[in-house]
Symmetry: C3
Subunit: 147 residues, 3 copies
């Protein structure tokens, strides 16, 4: 089968594509429920998580989980529920068997007793690998729109 992929990468199988959609669906739930350790375990041991609005990427599961816990504490104090939507996922094969994805990520938030609104629009790029039948994030880079 063929389907469109990032221009510089051959396409992946449709089944892998469906798996990756489901992987992201499970992952945002961990993120939005504040399950920091489980979220961090969806990265490889030496996974890298960078954002264009931060000077340095987080490196490894410990840093990723710690950073997320700090963020969740702030949200809890402010009574905010955030929802991450990953979508518009393009995927292509890398030479070493990993998969590179490009996708959009929107974040919505709802204050306690209040109404929902858009919080943030971003684009992201991942490298995903399969280990023991599970997908893991080897690297992620998020770019905030408007910056």
């Amino acid at each position: 089968m063929t389907y469109p992929a990032p221009p510089d990468a051959p396409p992946i199988a449709a089944e892998d594509y469906a798996q990756i959609l489901a992987f992201y669906a499970a992952q945002v739930r961990l993120l939005d429920q504040g399950r920091a350790d489980e979220f961090a375990e969806q990265f490889t041991e030496d996974g890298v998580f960078g954002q264009n609005v931060k000077p340095e990427p987080k490196r490894g599961r410990q840093e990723i989980a710690d950073s997320m816990r700090r963020g969740m504490a702030v949200l809890a104090e402010r009574g905010l529920t955030r929802r991450h939507w990953f979508g518009m996922v393009s995927a292509g094969a890398l030479p070493d068997g990993a998969v590179r994805t490009e996708y959009y990520a929107m974040v919505y938030e709802t204050p306690r007793g209040g109404t929902a609104s858009v919080y943030l629009s971003t684009t992201a790029e991942d490298e995903l690998v399969q280990r023991d039948g599970r997908w893991l994030v080897r690297s992620r880079h998020v770019t905030h729109d408007g910056t």
Copy 2:
């Protein structure tokens, strides 16, 4: 194949996952077009539809359709177009062959002659069954964010 599922349920086939995405896509269209009877027929005869902001769930197709018609009449009077987006769908197999899904549902609205905005952010859980080659909702529970 394996892909991430709700933690307490084994994964479903990628083909079933794609079918369920398409099922939801068709369903929100019925919902937003106000096709109450066809929407209700996407539930089992004894389907249950609960929301955390309502004291009692709707039980059976008649109650589901009637409730939807009342809601649509209010929207029509106010000149509002609503769009439901179901996304971030996680799915796992239940012991009896049904599928349990968890997903996010956002609602957007546009007034006649006006501009679009976010109306509501929710999370939802369904139990889906296959009957005669069609997917049906056996139960749905929706939780509004911010409540």
Copy 3:
């Protein structure tokens, strides 16, 4: 396999459905990055692109690309980043082997240094064909909500 399709069209294969999701994911990226010629090449040579808010549809790749370039110039001047999300995709087979899709398309925008917001909610209908293993848009009609 069977899965829900527009009521007057037989369903398509799950693999085709996954391919079409990926096709749209790649396409919105071309659109939002202002890659007008590549975007236009995702239509057939004689592709038609209509919107209910425009008196005439664009016909052929040249018109589609030119129209997009004019739109992008306006956005650039205003410092806006737009993100198109296509979702809730229903798909069915047409008698001539093409695929008809119905979907929702939301547009978000973020001004330079500002915060993201919803710009527009629309619904759309495409006819898609496969040529040399690639999907192409034969026709697209977009309807803006609230009009």
